[in-house]
């Protein structure tokens, strides 16, 4: 099984958007799956924990700079199937960022599901 992802235009978060799209494409192709996968980049930018960093935020250099944490979540179990990080973060902030990412992934999951349902309606 080969999955091809093209990025016609990018503004950070490409890995995560690619994972969301790939998991939907697999479902669309009728592949048996345990669940969809939703992904998002979370992180710390200038002291605040945020979701879905754009290029400007990723490149932020003041007040401790930016931490970019790419994560993918299996929504039905809440488990994390991708985790990569660049930047700097404390253990507590990492936990807070992951919790935020988990919630955001649930929202993405709803969008993924409704798009697939619409397709087969």
């Amino acid at each position: 099984m080969d999955v091809f992802i093209e990025l016609p235009q990018t503004d950070a978060g490409t890995r995560c958007a690619g994972i969301c799209a790939a998991s939907m494409a697999l479902a669309d192709a009728g592949i048996d799956m345990k669940d969809l996968v939703a992904a998002i980049a979370v992180g710390k930018v200038g002291g605040s924990i945020v979701a879905d960093l754009n290029y400007e935020e990723e490149a932020y250099e003041e007040a401790g700079g930016a931490t970019d944490i790419a994560m993918a979540v299996i929504p039905s179990t809440g488990e994390i199937s991708l985790l990569q990080m660049d930047g700097e973060v404390s253990g507590d902030d990492l936990k807070a960022a992951l919790e935020m990412g988990k919630n955001v992934c649930q929202k993405i999951y709803e969008v993924q599901k409704s798009a697939l349902k619409e397709r087969f309606a």
Partner: protein, 254 residues
């Protein structure tokens, strides 16, 4: 060795070589393992043994960072070091290993790359870290990370000759501009058990792993998840605690 047997032993907190789950094998760090490199170190974790060397060269800076020197990490997993390794271009394991080590050093900003600039836009020192395996017996991520950072610490600039090129026959006593040193810790999950520094047999049974790079105060500066099993946020939290604890121990070997 069956997986069932391994899980049963881990459940009792026993490992095949008698260690505790979060105990490393005996670690040795030997500086200056290579005469030809600007800095080098031979590191062993039990039977796992590898060499890291630093080459410094005068290069043209990248156009998007004209005032900075470059960093590059290569890993060669030599066929002589394991029956699993094949000759030829780097495989997936070597590439991941190089990326994880690169990330740890780059993201901790441990080398002040602006201090590597000689003439902005024209000349800067490039730091090339070569890591090669002598004997692969598990736990390569952490051993490679420690070897790389030890080699970086050991490196001394060569002199520059009248043509502006590096004179490799003359070493100066000036070391790399280091701000802080990242320690690489990988926590492995086998079944529900978390452990560090796996033997080859343990590594083959790994379900998931998380590699962390940590700086002095326990802050995390890079993360990379590997293995097929997904991790819960609670498990990641436990892995972070183990890594923070263990990084203090490994740091003492530098």
């Amino acid at each position: 060795m069956s997986r069932e047997h391994l899980l049963k032993a881990l459940g009792k907190g026993i490992r095949y070589d008698g260690r505790k789950l979060t105990e490393y094998r005996k670690i040795t760090v030997e500086y200056g393992a290579s005469e030809s490199a600007e800095g080098s170190a031979k590191v062993s974790f039990g039977d796992t043994e590898l060499i890291a060397g630093v080459k410094l060269g005068v290069e043209t800076p990248y156009s998007d960072t004209p005032d900075q020197g470059n960093l590059m990490v290569n890993v060669e997993l030599l066929p002589l070091s394991s029956p699993m390794y094949e000759p030829g271009p780097p495989g997936e394991e070597a590439i991941e290993l190089a990326r994880v080590v690169d990330r740890g050093i780059r993201e901790s900003k441990s080398i002040d790359t602006k201090n590597l600039c000689i003439t902005p836009g024209e000349k800067a020192w490039g730091v090339i870290i070569d890591i090669c395996s002598l004997n692969a017996a598990g736990g390569m991520f952490d051993a490679a990370g420690l070897a790389a950072i030890a080699a970086v610490k050991d490196a001394k600039f060569p002199a520059i000759d009248e043509h502006g090129a590096a004179d490799y026959n003359t070493k100066t006593d000036k070391g790399l501009p280091l701000t802080r040193l990242p320690i690489t810790i990988t926590v492995y999950m086998i079944g529900e058990h978390l452990l560090v520094d796996p033997l080859t047999e343990e590594e083959a049974n790994t379900d998931g792993r998380l590699t962390l790079a940590l700086v002095d105060d326990g802050a995390i500066c890079a993360l990379q998840k590997g293995g097929e099993a997904p991790l819960t946020i609670a498990t990641i939290g436990e892995m972070v605690k183990i890594a923070q604890e263990k990084s203090k121990e490994l740091r003492k070997h530098l």
